[in-house]
Symmetry: C2
Subunit: 148 residues, 2 copies
Amino acid sequence: MGDKYEALKLKNQLCFPLYACSKEIVKAYKPYLDEIDLTYTQYITMMVMWEHKELRVKDVGKYLYLDSGTLTPLLKRLEEKGYIKRQRSPEDERDLIVTITESGEALRKKAVKIPEKLGACVDIDSEKAQALYSILYEIIGKLTDAEK
Amino acid sequence: MGDKYEALKLKNQLCFPLYACSKEIVKAYKPYLDEIDLTYTQYITMMVMWEHKELRVKDVGKYLYLDSGTLTPLLKRLEEKGYIKRQRSPEDERDLIVTITESGEALRKKAVKIPEKLGACVDIDSEKAQALYSILYEIIGKLTDAEK
DNA sequence: AGAACATAGATTGTGCGCAATTAAATTTTA
DNA sequence: TAAAATTTAATTGCGCACAATCTATGTTCT
């Protein structure tokens, strides 16, 4: 009981269930995302594009906590699928402007059912969901503000 | 306000903060894990090995929710580093038995400070941590039991 | 204006993470 | 007991995720 390595046991970790839960939920999305030929990361990227229509790569990265190493190839794939356009900003050639296409907008109609389908899988009561949500953003805030 | 696509907005997702939080915490581990030359996944794998000393790949996978596609190369890397041994079971040649080495045991002493170091980074009050923990395992349970 | 600095995205390399498939060993069933 | 089914790990292929580096473009500072 309570040996000196207690803190190193899996069951005493907070990060592990977070890591495992995140993976399992993403896995639960898969059958629904397969229907619209998107990965989870592509899906959340389309989410910010559906909402903002036009963004620099940099801003997409800020919303999603992703860098260009992840986004550059991912955005190229979304462009190949026809959901977005990528073009340099005329004002500042360093910026790459991502714009949603009509086909990308059309995809939104297909995707609109996904949140409720997933809600049915996870099925957690709304107080717990709210608690979870606020604690997660509290942690994210601490980890990403402190940074600089 | 509350258009028909409200459910598709990033701020209304529960999975996204989970996904982002998981990544940010793993990132927070990195400087400490770098010191002992482990990735996060290797670290949690060592955690189950520190506790159990000897396990089949299958059981490691059950503890960590990982399959052989992830574990086979990861365990080979840990074997190269000298922390574990991999050998077939004589009773059932299908099973691969993973055993911790002395060097692997020694690593535990170096790792023992990591949980508190990370606690200092995340710094969340213990009621919230407890709530988070139990909600996460509730979701994990629903997603992994329902499966079969 | 020219040099130093800063910024944005692309590239490279490593390691997951997982679906799908394969191969070998074992168990079950007819 | 021979054939079919199951179990286990390994392999293959793809897409992240991220650190580190590189390149091109802008900005700032003398």
